[in-house]
């Protein structure tokens, strides 16, 4: 691993002194449950950059092209509107790029050379500690020979795509592969420190997935913000989208032909039920689509003391939650109640302070 831990230390220090309650709490839990190496990823502070690369491949028909295009544009707009991205920090490579003249969001085509150029550009633009989220939209395919993302021109294999990602070793990388038959392509991208989402979990899941649609829903107005901390983590987005996909199939009375999975411990063994402390999910839980913003802080000694207590309580809640299986039901909830009432009261007092 080539990551520079030194530069990370400063981010971590800043994070720990930042007075942003929920994010800090989640990070504390994650660090408690992950190893030292994992501790080095996705610790970006307020000043770390967020970049998105949306690559939308070739479509099998006009109708599908329209759908892919609509998803990609929506993704672009939601990232810009709700997560602080801008035209400068979003690179969108759409189909053959021919619509660029009518659509200013488009930066190029999904031809191999444009993709390579985009990565070269990102290498030059991205600072160490920045986060790059790559969205792949379109068709995929897998055979014994290789798993491919169907772009304009010769398709690109997972291995080739992994080579494009390799130079970005100072950045936090999230890849969200929403394509059909995406699993093996995604598996080729797995590496320590990367969060890889795949819309499908086997080669056999080769029908066009619905995952992208619900991922956008999760991002839209942070609908997927499950823990109500005002930020959307990759894990939350995954949870929202994958559950919505299952709900859609159920509503249609069809057996699901896609099951989304995550790998974020680099072992390439993707999880259907990721959660912090269970192999996969630890990084996805602290990988957010946006930067946290601490906002104006209260500086009185009482406020600072209360905040520290709140953080401790929150951490205690997370730890207790992680140990749920070790408690009898009643005892667990008694302990949880005590912590949560204490936290609620302290938060109330903190909020009352000037």
């Amino acid at each position: 691993m080539n990551r520079k831990h030194k530069s990370r230390t400063s981010f971590l220090t800043m994070l720990r002194t930042a007075l942003w309650v929920c994010a800090a709490g989640a990070a504390a839990l994650a660090s408690a449950q992950t190893d030292d190496q994992e501790d080095a990823y996705f610790r970006g502070g307020p000043e770390s950059g967020r970049h998105a690369l949306i690559i939308t491949g070739a479509a099998a028909s006009d109708e599908i092209r329209e759908r892919f295009s609509q998803w990609s544009n929506s993704l672009h707009d939601v990232l810009a509107r709700d997560y602080g991205y801008s035209a400068d920090t979003i690179t969108m490579l759409l189909d053959d790029g021919s619509a660029a003249s009518q659509n200013e969001r488009i930066d190029g085509s999904s031809r191999r050379e444009d993709i390579a150029a985009a990565f070269t550009g990102l290498q030059q633009t991205l600072a160490a500690g920045d986060q790059l989220t790559v969205f792949l939209v379109g068709h995929g395919s897998a055979s014994d020979a290789a798993a491919k993302f169907n772009i304009v021109g010769p398709d690109i294999t997972g291995q080739e795509f992994a080579e494009l990602l390799a130079p970005l070793n100072q950045q936090d990388i999230v890849v969200i592969n929403t394509t059909s038959g995406s699993f093996e392509f995604s598996a080729a991208l797995a590496a320590p420190g990367r969060v890889i989402l795949s819309a499908t979990r086997t080669r056999a899941e080769r029908y066009d997935p619905m995952f992208a649609r619900y991922l956008i829903d999760a991002l839209d107005n942070r609908q997927g913000d499950r823990d109500k901390n005002g930020r959307l983590s990759v894990l939350e987005a995954w949870t929202f989208a994958s559950q919505s996909v299952l709900g859609w199939y159920s509503e249609q009375g069809r057996l699901p032909t896609e099951r989304a999975v995550i790998d974020d411990n680099g072992d390439g063994n993707f999880s259907l039920e990721p959660a912090a402390g269970t192999g996969d999910g630890g990084l996805a839980e602290i990988a957010y689509f946006d930067n946290h913003s601490a906002g104006p802080q209260k500086t009185s000694p009482e406020a600072r003391s209360l905040l520290a207590e709140m953080q401790d309580l929150e951490r205690a809640v997370f730890l207790l939650r992680g140990q749920k299986a070790n408690y009898l039901e009643e005892e667990y909830w008694t302990r949880m109640e005590t912590l949560l009432i204490d936290l609620a009261r302290k938060t109330g007092r903190y909020n009352e302070l000037q």
């Binding site: 499950r226 823990d227 936290l343």
Partner: protein, 907 residues
Amino acid sequence: MNSNNLRKMTRTPALARFALRPLTLCLLLQGVFFTLPATAQDPVVQLEPALERAEELLQAGSYLAAIDLFQRVDGFEEEAGLLGLSQALAQTGEYAQAIEVLEDAISDYAASARLSTQLAELKRATGQSAEALEILEAVVTGNTTPPVRALVQYGSLLQYTGRRDEALGPLNAAIGRYDTGAVFEAEEIAMVAVASWLLDRFHDANSLFAEAVRLEPENLEAQVLWGDLFMEKFNVVDAEKSYNAALEINRRYTPALVGQAKISGGERSIAFALEVNPNDVAALETMATLLVMNDRAEEAMEYVDRALEVNAESLKSLSILASQAALHEEYDEYARLEAQVAGFSPGNARFYGDMADAFGNAYRFTEAVGYARQAVAADPNYWQGHTLLGTNLIRLGQDEEGRVALELAFDNDPFNVMTSNMLKVFDTLEEYATLTTEHFEVRMSQRDARVLWPYMAPLLEESWATLTAKYGFEPEAPVLVEVFERTDDFAVRSVGLPDIGPLVGICFGRMVTLISPQTLDANWQEILWHELVHVFTLQMTNNRMPRWLSEGISVWEEREARPEWGRRHGMELVRAAQQDKLLPVANLNAGFTGANTNEDLGFAYFQSYLVVDYIAQEHGFDKLIELVKQYAFIKEESEMFETVFGTSIDTFDAGFRSWVDRRVQEINVYVHTEDAADEGEAHGHGQRENSSAVMAELYNNASLKQHMRQRVQDQPRDFQAHLQLGIVLFKEESFDEAKVHLQIAQDILPDYSGYPSPALVLSQIHERQGDQAARLEQLKVMLENQQHDYDSTVLLAAAALESGDLALSRYYMDRALAISPYRLDVHQIGAEIARRLNDPQMAVRELEVLVDLDVNDPVEARTDLAEAYLSNGQPADAKRNILTALEIAPSYSRAQEVLLQAVDAAP
């Protein structure tokens, strides 16, 4: 015998060689080639072509030609020829001749063991079991190593004649012969399989049949017997394979044709079998059984009589007669028939099993249980009797005892698919919740208990209050309702097997089984109400209600319960009147039993409904109740009509027809012969699709438009043409012209409820034109006659909510819940209505369901619910829920506030 022996035998190379030899059944039976292996080289060989050709013809089903050729065989092969001749004669129903041929040839039963065994089998098949027994006894006792077939036939007949203990000897001897390696031929192995079967060694029997057909796939008898074993175990798939294997070799082999008919329930195979052999008792009995099941008992009696003419000891025929006598409460006749059976087969458990089956099929479960008890008392090892007992007990709601009976059956006969299926459903039910109201006990999945139950419980009691008042009758309570998430479980619980066709609910009198609305795309409340009406009408008549009237009343009551429920088949009525398809009232059940398509079945329901509507409108509802009550007694339907309406059923029918004619005139729609009827599933519950209109929607084109223009010009009241023309014009965006034709269509059939309806297409036009008010108005029009469209009801509920019309919003919300309580939006609307109405109870109900359904935002859902609990004075529930929310999102300030409120409010 053990399975090791079996495996060892199957690996013997000699057996494999035999498998390659194209031996015919008869030669195998005779064993000629064993004893005289050199004869193939003898001069006698010149006789073989006739014999071989005759056997080939017999095997191929050319029975008359085979008879001719067998008669020419003589000399050294005479015995083989006689055996073949008697078999060929028997295959064509010439039993007397077949017997005569054998009797003429036999001077000593023991010495002519093979011919004598064949003779005994023919005697048994023609109702001479006593003589058959004598012959077989002579063969078995007169030979040191009697043929395996003789041993098995002897054992079988001893069992049949009530000498079960004595049967053990010959049956075990046959099996012992196999175990010592002395049985090689496919036919004999099949006989050993039969012996194992008779001794309840079903696994061995199956293995042996498999071995027999592997050795000689052309052995028709082995194939069919194997199929029969599968059929006995309700393993239809494997049974069909065996029957088909036999029919591929000989399409005229009547035992296989009969087997196939039992699977398909169709009469074609039987009719063909009876063409081949008009005296085939199994075919006659099967035909009679099918006819009885289709409410054609009178026709069935003709076949029973024919079967009894051939075989006066035909158990199935006698049990059909006995069950008909008992069902008609002709107890003396029943006793006579019971004694007749006991005369030749004392203590025959199958007779009582057949009785239990017949009563179960007639929904007379109490009596069915009684006969099943008699069956297992007569033979405690009659495992199917235990299955019948268990199944019918379950229909009566006596699950505990029913399960015990089924488990006993399964422990001893684990191959019975019906038994194992029924027991598997018990496993499902163990996971289910049991919920009660004052008059109902309901079992459903835990999820349905959370999502469906809040809306089902009040409907159940509403139905009770409404129907008890209306019919002046209180059914036995609690009425049991079971709601199954899996269609297979519903089917098995209802009929024992997983294939149940389009049924979505079944009433057994006191018990109702339903498919969970989760898997339906139809108004579940209408279905439930429909079945609950059956509870009343069936119990009022001790389950003697004919299907047509029971269904007619249930459908009629749908519309009585909610104006939008029920069926509107105006087009179909006109079409049926035009085509003179209306059945006479006296023959309405045939509409159900003779339906070949969903369309036919749907119309059977509709016509039954029409008769009920006619009675209610023209004679009064009291007359309908009087008629229902008549069915509690055993009497002719014509007599009942005479009693209630004071006219003959024919006069009643004439009145009905004239009323229908008036209705047809009122409907006044032109029905073109090229249009198909609307199609729907779920026995009329659910959306019916207008396939012509759907096609117009998908493939509208100029020629279709031209054609429809011509049609409306020819027939201005051609509904379909106006509708299709409207759709084509809509697709062309000629909105104004489209509206004209759609409006005309709507005026012609204002209550048309198919998909797409004129109102639906008009609403779509208004939507395209941006006229939201007009769009909603048309959806309202559509929903006046359409009870299955969830999306439109939710749309109207949301629109009404937005406009502040809470009563209207709630009305449409309830309409949506009647279709599906499993979707988020309707509960979100419900929660908002509750909030605006300040109705904490309703809020709790809606939010409790939302918590279950909203997997994407559980924190918000739990927080909302906790707030509702607080408003509803349930602080403990509020605390429990808010803790769950905060467990996920500990810093969510709104939830923290609710937690503190809950803590403060707690006692």
